[in-house]
Chain length 130, copies 2
Amino acid sequence: MRISRGRNGAPSEERGPTFSGRVWADPVLPGADGVVVNDVFFEPGARTNWHTHEVGQVLLVLAGEGWVQSRDGTGFPLTAGDTAHIPAGEEHWHGASPGSYLLHRAVSIGQTGWLEAVSDDDYRAADAGG
Amino acid sequence: MRISRGRNGAPSEERGPTFSGRVWADPVLPGADGVVVNDVFFEPGARTNWHTHEVGQVLLVLAGEGWVQSRDGTGFPLTAGDTAHIPAGEEHWHGASPGSYLLHRAVSIGQTGWLEAVSDDDYRAADAGG
């Protein structure tokens, strides 16, 4: 059993090649039993690469605005208070909208499989509701 | 991919035999791929039975004060902003302190195995830091 009280005390970490744009991802609770909890801040326009979670992922939107999109075109705008669930193995991305940062807490379960970056066309398609 | 925006619109549901005291548990996202998200409100003194989660559980404390305790005696007081992780298969309980309600969001992964009620002695032991 583990507990995290507020921030973890470690310096915030800027994330690299599996994201586009500037993204800060702080572990709330490091992985154990395949369960990882991170707080992730995306600057406007920043987003994850396409990726999958072996068991799934729950996103709790804390502040700002953004999107989550699946490869099949389904997706949702995200705003503070929203809770999203991504099923096992579903190829998806999430990130900030062009005009707002996004802060979410992510509970990621099982291995993460990273894929290619989200193209500007795919990113703009989310903005158009695609 | 699923999303929940604020409450789910269904009437709040009071929970029964696997809890002591009055407990209200509202699904934020019903189970899929073994991942369930619930907001759970415990009146002062209320608590879960002892139980396990097949893969684990993450508790995000939204308001109030309470405890989470394992069968081996390890445990933590809970207060708003805390995040707790219970490993796969660990027998534990969580609930409100005697003098405060507790509201937490729970991400429960895999089957839940319900056990017996938490005795008043075990509950008071948490208060003593046991």
